[in-house]
Structures are given as C-alpha cells and as structure tokens.
C-alpha cells in the first residue's frame, strides 16, 4: 500500500506542477474571445513569441546554470531562416532572373547564392530554423564545455559570438540585406492555411507553439537528463565524480534551448513580417535576461509571464517618449531589486505566498480539529 500511496501523491504533485502551465496556456488560447481587435492581437502575439524566447533562456539559465547572454543569436538565426523562405515566395516586382530578392538586385548579385537555394522549400526552412540554431549551439557548447569553461566566461563567449554573427550579417549586405534586414515578405502558408500577421490563424499558431514549448521544456526538466542537468547546475564536480559526462548534458540543454529560441525566431518573422539584425542584437539579448530574472528563472511559466508582462508594459508605454525614459529608469530599479531580493523572480514570490497560505490554512484546520476533539473529550 505505501508504494501505491506515494505513487498517487507523485501523480498529484505532477498535476499540481502542470496546472499553472495549463491554466496560462488556456488563458492564451481564450484571449481572442475577449479581445476583438486584430491590431492588439498582433501585438499580444509578439509578446507571446518573446515569451517563448524567454522560456528557452530559462531552460539553459534557470535549469542548466548556463547564463547565455547570446540567446538572441538562436532567435535571429531562426528568424532569418523563415524570412529567407518567405522572401523567395514573394511575387517579384523588381527582381532579376529566377525571382532574385530585390536587395540582391540592388547589390548587383547575378545569381541566387548557393545557401539561399534550399530555402525555396518551406519545409527545409522550418527544419533549418530549428536545426541550425541547435547545431551552432551544440558546436559552441562543445567548444566551451569540453574545455570546462564555466560561469562568467560562458556569458562572455556567448555574447561575443552573437556580436560576431551580428557583425557578419550587417556586413554581408548583398547576401543578407545588411542593416535593413529582409523585408517585404510573403505570407506563410502551411497545409492550405494562410497566416496573415494580423489574422486569428497566426495568433493561434503562436499560442499552439507557446503550449508546445512549455510542454517540451517541462518534460525535459522532469526527465532523467533534465534532473542531471539541474544537478550539474547545483554542483558540477560532484556530478562529474559520479561518472556522468557533464559536458554532454550541458551541450544537450544548450542545444535544446537554442532550438526553442529558433522556433520563437521563426514565429517572430511571421508576426513582424520582416527579419532584422536587431533580432540578434545585444539589446534584445539582455532584455531576455531581464524578463527571465523578473519572471523567475527557475520557473518556465514564470519566465514566460515575465516576458509577456514586462515587454507588454514597455510596449504600452512606448507611445510617449517621456514615459519611456522614466520607464527605463523604473525598469532598471525593478531589475536590481528583483536580483537582490527575489532571486527566483515573481514565480518564486508566488510559490512562497502559496505555501504560506497553505500552511496558514493547515494550521487553522489543525486548530479547529483540535478544538473539536477537545469539545468531544469534555462531553
């Protein structure tokens, strides 16, 4: 019987852990019913995509202990993969032979470069949007973790790598659109459904990907590999002495996180209708860290909500310049306070409040029970 009891309590705990995730996803799916405004829905979809990006950082930072300051690199690679495919699908207006993208024509490129060719296929592009970031991350992870680079140095290397890729993209204007990025894209069409950036279909696509990424990330954190990754975060050498190949697990979580970020990048291109070097810029990359820290780096739902709330608030206030400047100041202060006093972010705050309430209720219930038994005893 005891094993059965512990099993059912384990199941209960799993359900309790899944609950916030499912509730948040349900809210995300229900929003279009309440919000009958395509323009606003597009904005919300944008914040949801940034939320997915932040989930991916939470996976490597909160669970793997790898503070990746270049998370936007994977995001940008995914975004460019999608943009390249959608660019080739546009009806050519000013294009040269065989539908050459317009910026290539302006830069006197005669033929489509070889690495653009496969992007004529949308399925290739979608696969590339996931696999390329993962492979780049795996290679970088192999380079770092095999050499036992840890802590701050990981942050510096990831940041520097992202800046290098950003510089190359801006510099190679004739192949990448340079500073302007890739604009004037076709609509994404999947299984006969056209995804207009301002349409419901796109919103539900994003919402589905939110649910998918939350579930994948959650499943990973509960898997055996996920537990080992968390053990490495807490005490790397102890796990190594147990005989685990620490670097292998770190590389895996790093690559998985990059793949999710790549997915977010692809969705961002669909929602924003362009790709730009700012998508893999330092600014965005550091903002993701802020969102993740504010929401709670060790909670997937927390990281997601942190991004949606903070980015959403920033977006709402950015209409007025004076507001935005004060907001940046408040944001900096908020961030410092969260780092100092809420290392687990808002999710940690919610958790401890919940526990406190539960304890109070239990204590109160116990007191009542004791009172009842006392009155029973006296009679």
């Amino acid at each position: 019987m005891p094993s059965n009891a512990s099993n059912s309590s384990g199941l209960q705990r799993l359900i309790a852990q899944l609950a916030p995730l499912l509730i948040v996803s349900a809210l995300v799916f229900a929003l279009p019913v309440l919000l009958n405004n395509d323009f606003l829905l597009n904005k919300v979809a944008r914040y949801l995509v940034l939320g997915i990006l932040t989930i991916s950082l939470g996976l490597s930072w909160g669970f793997g202990g790898i503070l990746n300051l270049g998370q936007a690199m994977s995001f940008g690679l995914g975004s460019y993969a999608m943009a390249m495919a959608l660019k080739l699908k546009t009806v050519p207006v000013h294009t040269g032979a065989s539908g050459l993208p317009d910026f290539m024509v302006w830069n006197n490129v005669q033929h489509l470069p070889w690495f653009w060719e496969p992007f004529r296929s949308l399925s290739f592009a979608i696969a590339a949007g996931l696999i390329v970031p993962a492979l780049v991350a795996a290679a970088l992870g192999w380079f770092m973790f095999r050499g036992r680079v840890t802590g701050v140095y990981v942050s510096i290397i990831t940041l520097a790598t992202m800046v290098v890729i950003n510089l190359v993209i801006i510099d190679q204007q004739s192949y990448t659109g340079g500073f302007n990025g890739i604009t004037d894209l076709a609509q994404l069409e999947l299984f006969g459904v056209a995804f207009d950036a301002y349409g419901r279909a796109t919103y539900y696509l994003v919402a589905g990907c939110v649910l998918l990424s939350l579930l994948v990330a959650f499943a990973f954190t509960k898997s055996r590999a996920g537990l080992i990754v968390q053990a490495i975060r807490d005490h790397e050498s102890r796990v190594r002495y147990f005989g685990y190949d620490v670097a292998l697990y770190q590389i895996f979580v790093f690559a998985l996180s990059a793949a999710i970020a790549g997915l977010a990048g692809m969705l961002y291109t669909v929602v924003m209708e362009f790709a730009s070097p700012t998508f893999l810029g330092v600014q965005l990359s550091l903002s993701v860290v802020v969102w993740c820290a504010v929401g709670g780096r060790q909670s997937l739902v927390g990281a997601f909500l942190g991004a949606v709330l903070v980015a959403g608030m920033q977006g709402a206030l950015s209409e007025s310049a004076a507001f935005l400047e004060t907001w940046t100041l408040v944001m900096g202060a908020l961030f410092v306070l969260v780092v100092l006093f809420l290392p687990k972010g808002l999710a940690g705050l919610a958790q401890s409040t919940w526990r406190w309430v539960a304890q109070r209720r239990q204590a109160a219930g116990g007191a009542v029970a004791r009172g009842v038994s006392q009155t029973e005893g006296s009679t």
């Binding site: 510089l167 940046t328 900096g332 410092v336 780092v339 100092l340």
Partner: protein
C-alpha cells in the same frame, strides 16, 4: 620610418586611455570577482562631472580632478554598500545587478541633463603640441600617458605597500581566515570598489576633452576595458598595463588597415579563443583554482 613611429605613438596614446579605463575594472574584478557592467557608467559620470564643474563652477579640468575622483568614488561606495555587498555568494548575479545599476545611472543622467552631446575644454596649458622623436603630438596626449602610468604606480603602491592593500590581498587569499584575524572585509571591499569607481571617474574626466560626452558613452569603454582585463589576466596589474598597450598598438594598426568589421570580428574571436584556452589571461603565471 616616420609613419611607423607615428603609428607607435598613436598606439601608445590609445593604450594609455585603455589603461586608464581598465585599471579600475581590473582592481574590482581581480580582487572582488565582480564583473562590473556599470563601469562604463562610472566613466560617463566622471565625464559629466568634469562638464558640470566646468560649466557651473568654472573650474578647469585639472583643478576638478580630485573632486571628480571623490564624487564618483562615493557613488561606487554607495553601490557596493547597498547593492553588491548583498550578493556575496552569487557572482553571476553581480553581472545582472551592476547592469541594472548601469541602466539606472545612464537613464538618470539622460533625464537630468538631456541626451545631447556635451563638450569639455582642453586645459589651456596643455592645448599646444610638442615634439616626440620628431613627431608633433598634442601635449594633452603626452599628459594622459604620464597620468596613466602614474595612476598605475599609485595603485601598485596602494596594493603592495600599504596596510589596506595588504588586508585586501589577505581577503583575496581567504576571506574567512582574514576575517578571523580581525580584518573588516566589508569595509575593505567597499573601499576597493569605491577606489575602482573613482579611477573610472578620473578616466572619464580625462578623456572627456578628446571625445564628446553623452549618456551612453560608457558602453564602448566597458567592452574595451573588459578585453584589456581578460587579455592581461585577472589579479595581474602588470598584465593589465601590458595588454592595454598591446591592444592600443593593435587597434592603432587595425585603424590604419581600415576595415572595421573585420577588425572587430578578429578581436572578438581572439577573445573567445583566449578565454577557452587560457582563461587566466596571457600574463598570469600562477593559477589558483
């Protein structure tokens, strides 16, 4: 031949600015293990302090150097005392906290004095140029070179020949043992951070006549200073000097060859490879795990 000497002199001048900015960062990183992303903002504060002293109080740059050092050091002291000392066992979080502090400082300056560019006058006594090895060079750049070497000397003496420096070195070796010998680690850390911040402020004030002053001027400096510290090696003041001048000469040469993207890419990749294979820096002999 003349061109070569000119290149070398330009490199020395860039190197002395790098050294000025990196010295404070090197002290803070080397002794406290804090990656201070607000360092660039301390540089910026120093530059603005120079501008304020000049515009509102009519003080010349040279006369205001000491007050600038004290003002920015006070900022540093407050930040260490009320923010960073709470993060003793969380080195990664100090990156985030100092970054947040940096944003606040930058934004506060922007709100108070606006984001337009400000200019600080050269000290009149140093406005002319002089001949070095037959090359005319502005006296102010020679002055910067001398000041950076002097500040390095002062810092070295402070670390190695004074009681505070000895206490700091004891804490670096083993904080709890040092504390059991009666050393007040908190106070020494606060002073160290204040000193590092003050040095950054001085650097900002000293470079302000050469470049325009703006709220986001610090960002570039913090990246450069980091490269100097990483290349020179943590806990090695001499390494910091060497790497500052190496990087100065390199960027002088790269500017001569003129391709910014290639130059930046090469430097960043070099840093990445350096961290991977020699995280202790080029000039550190001893390694302590």
């Amino acid at each position: 031949m003349d061109q070569l000497i000119e290149q070398i002199v330009t490199g020395l001048s860039i190197g002395s600015i790098l050294l000025l900015v990196a010295l404070g960062l090197s002290i803070i990183y080397g002794s406290m293990g804090i990656i201070n992303l607000a360092h660039g903002e301390f540089v910026m504060l120093g530059a603005y302090a120079a501008w304020v002293f000049h515009t509102y109080l009519g003080l010349g740059l040279l006369a205001s150097l000491v007050p600038i050092f004290l003002v920015v050091a006070t900022f540093g002291w407050v930040i260490e005392r009320y923010v960073l000392s709470l993060l003793n066992n969380r080195p990664l979080d100090t990156i985030l906290a100092t970054w947040g502090v940096g944003i606040m400082l930058q934004q506060a300056v922007r709100l108070m004095v606006g984001s337009e560019l400000r200019y600080v006058q050269l000290p009149p006594a140093l406005a002319d140029s002089m001949n070095v090895f037959g090359i005319p060079i502005s006296s102010y750049r020679v002055f910067l070179f001398v000041v950076s070497i002097a500040l390095f000397g002062a810092t070295w003496v402070l670390m190695n020949r004074t009681t505070v420096g000895m206490k700091l070195r004891a804490i670096i070796q083993d904080r709890s043992v040092a504390a059991s010998f009666g050393i007040n680690a908190k106070r020494v850390y606060a002073l160290t951070f204040a000193y590092g911040a003050g040095l950054a402020g001085l650097a900002g004030a000293l470079v302000s006549p050469l470049k325009s002053v703006s709220p986001d001027m610090g960002t570039g400096y913090v990246v450069d200073a980091f490269m100097v510290v990483v290349l020179g090696g943590v806990q090695s003041l001499a390494g910091t000097v060497a790497s500052a001048f190496i990087l100065g000469e390199l960027s002088g040469g790269i500017a001569f060859l003129q391709n910014d993207t290639v130059a930046k890419t090469i430097v960043l990749l070099a840093i990445v490879v350096l961290i991977r294979f020699r995280p202790e820096g080029l000039f550190t002999a001893r390694v302590r795990a």
